[in-house]
């Protein structure tokens, strides 16, 4: 059972990461908030801050760092605020799991509301 759940989670995770055909750098830049702008991503901004982050990410990719390592590096430096995809941590369990919990609660509620069809002879 545990394996099924984890493979399902993995499946959704992978499909979301491999969205589209942009290269890795662009994908990373799109998931970073430009800290000096109003709600822009680093990829969309040309502020000095965004330019610095862009070159930092490019360098890290050249060094052969993985996507995850780059996110960790940036969040250590600037805090989780910079990551538009909130990492699964103690403080984001509610954020990630509450929606699913509510969906399941809804299903249970519906189960009791709906009459099962009578089997006709």
């Amino acid at each position: 059972m545990k394996n099924i759940i984890s493979s399902l989670l993995l499946f959704f995770f992978i499909t979301s990461v491999s969205y589209g055909n942009e290269d890795v750098t662009d994908q990373i830049l799109k998931n970073l908030r430009c800290l000096v702008c109003q709600g822009q991503t680093v990829s969309d901004s040309n502020s000095e801050f965004a330019l610095i982050i862009k070159s930092v990410v490019k360098d890290k990719i050249k060094e052969g760092k993985s996507e995850k390592e780059i996110y960790n590096f940036l969040s250590d430096k600037y805090g989780d605020w910079i990551l538009l995809n909130p990492p699964l941590k103690k403080n984001s369990y509610v954020l990630w799991f509450l929606p699913y919990l509510l969906f399941i609660l809804g299903a249970i509620f519906l189960f009791f509301l709906l009459k099962k069809p009578k089997i006709r002879p």
């Binding site: 959704f12 969205y19 509610v94 699913y100």
Partner: protein, 627 residues
Amino acid sequence: MLSNLGNIFVIIALLISFILIFFSLREFKTNNNLIPGKIFKFSLIQLFFSISSFVILLIAYIFSDFSLVNVFENSHTNKPLFYKISGTWGNHEGSLLLWINILVLFSTLFLFINKNRDKNFKILTLLFQNILIVIFLIFLLINSNPFSKLFPIPLEGLGLNPILQDPALAIHPPLLYVGFVGSSIYFSAALAALISKIDSRSLAISIKPWVLVSWFFQTVGILVGSIWAYYELGWGGYWFWDPVENSSLMPWFVMTALLHSILVLERRIGLYSWVIVLSILTFTMSVTGTFLVRSGILNSVHTFASDPSRGLFILSFLMVMIFYSIFIFFKYAPKENKQFRMFSKESFIIANNWFMIFFLAVVLIGTLYPVFLDTITGSKISVGPPYYNLILAPFLIPLLFLMTSGPNYKWISSEVKSFFNLVLVVSVTLFLITFFLIQENSFLLNLILFFSIYLVTQTLFDLYESLKRRNINISRIISHLGFGLLIFFIYVNHIFSIENNFNLKLGETKKTTHHIIKFDNLEEQSVKNYKSIVGHFSISDLKTLKSKELKPEIRVYDKPITITYEASIKSNLFSDTYLTMSNISDTDIFNIKFQVKPFMNFIWISVLLLSLGGILNFFNREKNEKN
């Protein structure tokens, strides 16, 4: 002069609200079965003064009367007339006055056109509406008065934020406000229905037109906002899951749920309490949306007017409103003990509600969780597009499936239908063709594409059937078709979008996988209220060898001094070519963002189809009520 007149009109409107509240309370107790003429008269007078106050503000803007702080802060004599007019609601105070105007207009309309014979129901709806009007008018007078005076009178105004000087954004707020405020009517009507105990069919018939109208305007309002973001913000996206966008989407989910539930209520099958909960929730979400936008507690691309004191007022109002609604609900809610048959139309509608409420919950959690976390623990996190895409996308599959099969089930029935039919065969064939053309590997994306094709095929078959049977009520079919196409084109657009970021100097050429981009020329232009640097680029497609001219701009507005980046978009039926340039400071290098975005026009048209269904239903309402 205008300032005093405006204030006087607003105060008169406020006083009439008190009179109307007094009359309604007195009338509610009598056994008389007719609403007295004086209530109608006072409502009309209130409408007159309310609209007049708005007209006065409009005049102040048109003639640039800078003795009003509001006009001084948001207008300028050099501004084109069109933006002087739209500037009236392009700021917090003016838009609040517009909000109140729509509220008064709708209350009056409800009083005059609602055919429900139950006097108490109408009187109570009017009472609740006027309580809302009083609250918003007091908020306007105390905290956000557009008629505040300024002395000495300045010669020139500060100007309107140039990003807001745009035709799409000029009509965007009024559209959304009709949606937001329209929901106040069924909020009040729901509370009135509880107290006056009217039956389910009368309630459904009373609120249905309002739900349809507000849903239609909300949909179109979101569409216009999205189109604006697409060409004005210059990033090529059309939906950023930004808090402000979310706050227009949240009421939309509840409205959509309500739109479906009313169909059940109309047929007296049940859901009376649930419709009331949804009605209350819709308006609550509208006010929450306003709170989130106006208080500035959220970091957003769309925040142009924010001030914590406004937030505090709206938040307190929200708390009181929720508290009283819950109180009235539990005091008066009738007991219902309904069970629904599993394979009936009403069950599928309930399933729709389940999904809509789930979507609402996801967006609400995503928007508010960071705020709560920041307040409680002080740690800041961001919730951006990846979160919403990851959580919501898988749920589109069952939703699309339910939308495909649900509508063909019968009311109060338990007949199970077979899936294996011609529609499925056609859909699978179409999907295989698409799959061959797209060659997308992601399993999730393929599933979404398949189920959206399935929905589109089914609705097209349904459309053919109903046209053959000369059935005029095709609103559901049109809306579902629109939704199916929307999801299909969003994902196809996503798969085929090309984006290239690079730096160029004047005269240089950049070769990408499919295109050659040449930076030909740079010229300076001076327009009425801004100066601009226009870049000339020629884009040649390596496959078709066709060439295009694109001219992105960097604009420098002088009042107030703002730099904006204007994208240059060449749009043809199937694909948009999108180019923005921005200067890198202290160099002669320009940063170029080149994008090819297929099917953008199809995305817009799909949303139009979706909303068209709503308005068709509005006009077919009379016919439906008879059968």
